[in-house]
Symmetry: none
Subunit: 213 residues, 2 copies
DNA sequence: GGTTCAATCAGGGATGTCCCCGATGGCGGC
DNA sequence: GCCGCCATCGGGGACATCCCTGATTGAACC
């Protein structure tokens, strides 16, 4: 028998994490469980799990923030999003950020185990109900929730935009994504110019309006 | 040692039920766990648990439907609501329907165990953050809107606070209410100090949180 | 009459924001 | 090969934010 899959559980509810451990601990190797975005990013970097079981709704940016923080620095680690929500925008956002699957928390023990194994093997896994509009969003010419304004921004600009809109100073943003303050300034300037905004307050309002936070 | 408290777990997520069982099974007697409104009502009638751990958000009516179906037919069975939501309307609704307590799922093992024991003993239990507006909604003649933090600010400070939180610069605020920029600065400083905030971004978040805009 | 407090304003300084100018290296298109 | 775009960084400057100290007026309270 081959080695067990190493799984990290990220969810802000300790009770839920305990549930996953109790249910799956025999079949996979739960290498850790954490409850916040910051803990998650460092835990993933340290533990290098095979699969991250990732709650979508977390304080301070949610699962998306974790995936963005990691970028593609750890290609061997696959993420499986796990959420109570079946809203299209949640699904799209987290898949765009790099998750390899998305299942809702109504899932059973066997289904979840199967999902983890398939994600680890490289498959994309979706709850049946979600498969429909996920395919819509990616295969069709007209995606469901793409924002023409947002698409005109580069990846880096969107990344900076999210952090600025959350109230971080330039210096804090720079530290968080390892850039110089000057580079952050440049990106913010581009964002403001492209979106026709005049300062960071309007940017916060703009982002709140679009629920990018 | 007295008999263990008999607990029924109602939640539509099997994983969460497993978590509660794994975490509390040693200290209380989990007599059953169910995932739907119908199962819950019959299970409660059959098993007569001491405490029902009740998820608020369920398909087909939620925890409220279960409480209403039972009415006061089983006074010995107390219900403790357990939810991801901390929205006032959810709390009020489930308490009105007869729950004896309400805690959010961010709760720790020890806190939940304590909550179960206190509900069983006849106490009402609320997460600290919720206690405030529950009391407001039931005891006060004035509805929920009073805010102790806001009351500690003077009229002028509240006025400035609202404008700053909307993104106006000091200069714009000064022009709008016919003051010098320096006076606006003074008021903002007072507001930040009194509310224990460190900059205008946190202030915006604070105000948005309270729907002051 | 003295005290306390809200409201108003000023000077000065540290830091943050936003813009201008410029530069380099990489990558893709024609 | 050149051009455009992206990402990265720097200098310098204008202005905004946030803090400090310190001041005056008027109204309320005892």
């Amino acid at each position: 028998m081959s080695a067990r899959i190493r799984v990290l559980v990220v969810d802000d509810h300790a009770m839920f994490r305990a549930g996953v451990k109790a249910e799956l601990g025999d079949e996979v190797d739960i290498v850790g469980d954490v409850g916040s975005v910051d803990e998650a990013t460092s835990a993933i970097r340290e533990l290098r799990p095979d699969v991250v079981l990732l709650d979508v709704h977390l304080p301070h940016g949610g699962g998306v923030a974790i995936l963005e923080a990691l970028g593609d620095s750890l290609p061997a680690t696959k993420s499986l999003a796990l959420s109570v929500s079946d809203a299209a925008e949640d699904v799209i956002a987290v898949i765009r950020a790099g998750a390899r699957g998305y299942v809702t928390k109504t899932i059973t023990h066997d289904e979840l185990l199967d999902a983890i194994r398939r994600v680890h093997a490289g498959d994309a896994v979706f709850s049946p109900r979600l498969a429909g509009f996920v395919l819509d969003a990616f295969a069709s010419t007209k995606p469901v929730t793409t924002d023409p304004d947002l698409d005109r921004l580069t990846q880096r600009e969107q990344e900076v935009l999210r952090l600025i809109a959350r109230g971080y100073t330039y210096k804090e943003v720079a530290a968080r994504i390892h850039l110089s303050v000057k580079t952050v300034e440049t990106h913010v300037s581009s964002v403001l110019r492209k979106l026709q905004l005049s300062n960071r307050h309007e940017l916060t309002a703009w982002a709140t309006d679009r629920r990018l936070l």
